[in-house]
Symmetry: C2
Subunit: 174 residues, 2 copies
DNA sequence: AGATGTAAGGTTATAGTGTAACATATTCCC
DNA sequence: GGGAATATGTTACACTATAACCTTACATCT
């Protein structure tokens, strides 16, 4: 699991990518499903950053990489496979997809989404999960799945924001 | 606030509608914003049921009601206004809109969404809210807003499901 | 290796959701 | 009533996603 601080600041992102690909290969192998080169390529593209990417952005990246035309169904089918296997998540409020750092553990989709730098990081929080389970039970509701999307500012963007405000103040005073 | 049980079973839904319209009128009056007849009409259409409705469904209902053509911007602008004033919520996983039963209280968008009957009901749960606030704080994340969408089965659809299973069993034995 | 069945990907067309940009009408306030 | 601001009408288009059908690649058996 990546921390918010790491994802939002400079880090050796190559490790994130290779870890994700390796984990995916092993997982698909164990499950007897096929991580074809197209699917692996899409997974790698999704992992190019910690920012959720739209299907059409991925489609363009694919087309760029292969110098041939790529149609929507191609990328959507790969995305469907990756979603199915839990290798990526979909962020509904953004119509965008992001790599899952812990695909071996079944879990719900909980995200912190920075409105400054667009980075989205998964949250693994027992209290939230328990609160949701309890609330559903109290309402007599049988829980199947749930998603939580939390919007705000990551630490570095908060700093950035304060600096901008200081700069503005300074400019105003000058 | 409506309970799940009420929304999912038979009730005098006229009260839900008239309550919502009256609350909206008063709220808009207090805020000095204009609940025009179009906006009120869209709000009333949204409240035709406890099921979230898509923008194009609402557009068709509007066209039906007025016997003239209605274009997308018309309904989207009304929806934007109603969202802005907190009179409706958007359910991202469904691309759909639903009336807010408590528009005077500022709150986050938390929903129980029944996969059987499509009814969606707002949740107002202190534990969930607190857990989200705590989790964000622990990550150094400045919280702006968040949405929670919980999928599953409401009590009546659970019963329905069990009956179907019993029926199937019965048929198989016969 | 060749036959055959299944899964994956290619291709075309279209459905569904949402907005930009500009014109017209309505309302508010003086 | 005049003029500004707000709201709505209208056209066109962008973005997101899927249906349907065909071809290719792979896996397995003989």
């Amino acid at each position: 699991m990546y921390t918010l601080a790491k994802a939002c600041s400079h880090h050796n992102h190559g490790h994130c990518i290779s870890d994700a690909i390796n984990a995916a290969r092993q997982l698909c192998d164990e499950r007897g499903v096929r991580l074809t080169s197209l699917r692996e390529q899409v997974l790698e593209l999704v992992w190019q950053s910690h920012k959720p990417l739209g299907a059409y952005t991925l489609m363009d990246m694919l087309a760029q990489a292969s110098t041939r035309r790529v149609a929507p169904p191609t990328v959507y089918r790969a995305l469907d496979f990756l979603l199915e296997e839990g290798l990526i998540h979909r962020i509904n409020s953004l119509n965008a997809y992001i790599g899952c750092p812990s695909p071996t553990q079944k879990h719900q989709s909980h995200f912190l989404i920075c409105q400054g730098c667009s980075v989205a990081v998964e949250l693994d929080n027992t209290q939230i999960n328990q609160a949701v389970v309890d609330a559903a039970a109290a309402a007599g509701f049988t829980l199947a799945s749930h998603t939580i999307e939390i919007n705000g500012l990551c630490p570095s963007c908060q700093q950035q924001g304060s600096q901008n405000e200081s700069a503005k103040l300074g400019a105003a005073q000058a």
